[in-house]
């Protein structure tokens, strides 16, 4: 029932969004190209090439960057048992992708782009053909990248490294626009102009079809034919690479297995008690999981990023800025503990361990994984703000953290976002598409709840600063910590009760999806 509701919410968010983005994209493509053709016609080919390359790379890596695969990566290697030629399978997968919602939404944009590029009506079909060749290459390239990811997923150690690196790349790519904008419009303009003038995009096969479209629109037949031919060759080559990869995956040549690790002597769980063993298990598993390990490093990068933005936009870090930052870092402590357990949840809840212990261990491992981020925040904060503020900032971060994980226990019991099994697409299932969007909406709701519930303790830490009497911190900080601790204890006791009541439902939910 819940899953059907989530899917409905996801679709309700997705379809109008796609429709409007297609409409907006068409408008901006037309207006942008017309404007550029009128004032800087020489910049149109390199700019379109840059945009096509950016879109192409993002599309190719969309399963890892955005958590949603924009086009389908059909596992056609399963069809190799049938007497079908490889090129037929590759072409069938490409044609199948033409009906994906995002591909359909891209068609009006390409049509309006082609219309804007065509200086005469007779040029329109040729410009459109060039644009469609670009789209077809994009789909073929996405197919190649999906097959590479599939191949990597069959060799776990490669996949682990790839997932780790690509999460970092995704973080860098998503932060890049904000970093560029924080430098001001002039800096951004200079960067884009520099890239356009160098005309590097002409080397990118994502751009060749659009370059053909530009020349078709200007009536330059020879250039059109040359770029269109280059794009067609690139499509055929991508198809050939896909066919080769499919064959190798099918033969098991990319499935080389993993090396034996000798960990003898380090297997004993050293931390005391059941909570200690649970915590140690979580930390060992987290350190060996590339996605969690990447998240650990990103938890250090995020405060650095915000500090950078703060210092670029307001010329420094004010005391209130540091406390606000500490609140944000502490409140973003959502761990989705039971969803991340995956099928292991049947083991975890099969042990005769009090449920509150499980929750506390999960929360402690969440804290342990966020300590590096918190430490980064405090170290950087001490360089940019008065050092006397650091105890208050640490208290604010801890208070919001314990309230956040206390609330997160309910989220992970009632709305777990189930992690994929190792070797499967880590960004598929519950984390993708409409359900991924719905989970994000619920996350925002819980985040707001955390800020509200933690606000009295944040206020206590803030108060001496507002009154300009730092000595009051001697009383207000312990009081805030004790208050947040009491709220946490109540939240855990309540969540343990909810877990006991809903245990079979949670198990069914997670096991049904993992």
């Amino acid at each position: 029932m819940l899953r059907a509701r989530e899917r409905a919410v996801g679709l309700a968010l997705l379809l109008p969004g796609l429709f409007f983005s297609s409409l907006l994209g068409s408008f901006f493509a037309y207006a942008g190209v017309r404007g550029a053709e009128a004032h800087h016609p020489d910049l149109v080919p390199p700019l379109l090439g840059l945009i096509a390359t950016g879109v192409g790379l993002s599309w190719m890596l969309s399963p890892l960057l955005a958590g949603v695969s924009l086009s389908e990566s059909h596992d056609v290697s399963r069809l190799l048992h049938f007497p079908l030629p490889l090129p037929t399978l590759v072409a069938a997968s490409l044609v199948g992708n033409l009906l994906q919602p995002v591909v359909l939404a891209a068609l009006p944009v390409l049509a309006s782009l082609s219309l804007a590029l065509s200086r005469r009506p007779a040029a329109l079909p040729f410009a459109l053909a060039g644009s469609l060749l670009s789209l077809l290459f994009l789909l073929a390239a996405a197919q190649v990248s999906a097959l590479v990811l599939h191949g990597l997923s069959r060799r776990r150690r490669f996949q682990d490294v790839a997932v780790f690196l690509v999460i970092g790349l995704g973080f860098a790519m998503s932060m890049a626009p904000i970093v560029l904008f924080s430098g001001g419009a002039r800096f951004l303009g200079r960067a884009v102009r520099g890239l356009a003038v160098s005309d590097l995009a002409a080397l990118s096969p994502f751009a060749w079809g659009l370059l053909a479209a530009v020349h078709a629109g200007r009536g330059e037949a020879v250039a059109f034919v040359a770029w269109a031919a280059a794009q067609a060759v690139a499509i055929v080559l991508a198809g050939a690479v896909s066919a080769l990869l499919i064959e190798r995956i099918h033969r098991g040549e990319l499935d080389l297995g993993g090396a034996v690790r000798d960990e003898t002597g380090r297997a004993v769980m050293r931390l005391p008690g059941r909570i200690g063993a649970l915590l140690e298990k979580d930390l060992r598993v987290a350190w060996r999981d590339p996605a969690t390990k990447a998240t650990l490093f990103l938890s250090c990068a995020t405060p650095l990023f915000w500090l950078f933005v703060f210092t670029r936009t307001s010329g420094g870090l004010s005391p209130s800025g540091l406390l606000a930052l500490a609140t944000l870092v502490g409140a973003s402590a959502f761990g989705n503990a039971f969803g991340l357990e995956g099928r292991g949840i049947a083991l975890l809840l099969g042990f005769p361990v009090d449920r509150w212990r499980i929750l506390v261990a999960k929360n402690l491992s969440g804290l342990a994984l966020r300590l590096p981020g918190l430490a980064t925040l405090l170290v950087m904060g001490s360089l940019l703000a008065p050092p006397a503020l650091l105890p208050a900032a640490a208290t604010v971060a801890l208070c919001t953290f314990v309230v956040a994980v206390g609330i997160d226990n309910y989220a992970s019991i009632l709305f777990p976002v189930v992690a994929a099994r190792p070797g499967h697409n880590p960004y598929g299932g519950a984390a993708a598409g409409g359900r991924g969007l719905a989970a994000a909406a619920l996350g925002a709701l819980f985040f707001t709840g955390t800020i509200l519930a933690a606000s009295p303790f944040v206020f206590l830490a803030w108060l001496p600063m507002l009154l300009e009497r730092p000595v009051l911190w001697l009383f207000s900080l312990p009081l805030a910590l004790a208050g947040a601790g009491a709220v946490y204890a109540m939240l855990v006791a309540g969540a343990a009760g909810v877990l006991e009541r809903r245990e079979p439902d949670l198990l069914q939910r997670v096991l049904g999806e993992a």
Binding site: G258, A267, M269, G350
Partner: protein, 243 residues
């Protein structure tokens, strides 16, 4: 409930302590569902169960202390090594660090997992995973063992070692609740069987009792009795296009 109909319907049985109890049935009959309900992984819509004197609904943790479970699907912690997993399981059952270490060593040696102890479970074969899960189910000396297809994927040598161990455990008073599709193994191991079909029990007792109740010959095997009870028609016409 499964797709609107009861997956298990009015199933009632009693297993005496130390018995090797076979719970048999065709695919989709409700065997794994019953095990999931008896081990607290699924909540029945109605009915109750008592294990070693503990009512399941009210004393779930007490039940979990005395049972060991080897599920058909093996949800192990993929990114722990086999040895780490056994250490973790021992600690979860409240064993001391030293006792956990001692039992882990014995189990790894007994199940021929010593060479693979440092490998991550994600790299284990199906048979190794099965043996690791069995080791974890045994580490706290349970009084009742739930075994869902315990011999699937295990090589014949390990299979023999495991069946001998299970037999010895039953002789020492451990109750076995065992499901398998391999009926000759069930016939060799089980003191008593129950046969479930489409969610309902169709027979229960020793093989001799069931033979007598259902009026099948005294030389009928468990497979013969099973096929008769689940009304399985195993006769087939030839495929029309194969000469």
């Amino acid at each position: 409930m499964f797709r609107g109909r009861p997956a298990v319907d009015h199933v009632s049985f009693r297993v005496a302590r130390g018995r090797f109890f076979g719970f048999l049935g065709p695919n989709g009959a409700g065997k794994s569902t019953t095990i999931k309900m008896l081990t607290g992984l699924l909540r029945p819509t109605e009915g109750e169960a008592t294990i070693e004197g503990h009512p399941l609904e009210k004393e779930l943790l007490a039940v979990k202390r005395v049972i060991g479970v080897l599920p058909e699907e093996l949800p192990l912690y993929e990114r722990l090594t086999g040895e780490e997993y056994l250490h973790f399981a021992g600690r979860m059952y409240g064993l001391s660090r030293e006792e956990t270490r001692r039992r882990t060593e014995e189990l790894l040696a007994f199940l021929s997992l010593e060479e693979e102890r440092g490998k991550l479970i994600v790299d284990y074969s199906q048979g190794m995973r099965k043996k690791t899960a069995l080791a974890a189910a045994l580490i706290h000396s349970p009084r009742v063992l739930f075994l869902d297809e315990p011999l699937n994927g295990i090589d014949p040598i390990s299979g023999r070692v495991v069946t001998d161990l299970l037999r010895r455990l039953a002789q020492k008073g451990v109750t076995m609740f065992f499901t398998s599709h391999v009926l000759d193994v069930a016939e060799r191991l089980c003191d008593e069987v129950a046969i479930i079909d489409r969610g309902r029990l169709v027979a229960q007792g020793t093989l001799e009792q069931i033979r007598a109740q259902r009026e099948v010959g005294q030389d009928a095997t468990l497979e013969d009795v099973f096929l008769k009870l689940v009304a399985a028609d195993v006769r087939r016409e030839d495929l029309s296009w194969i000469g």
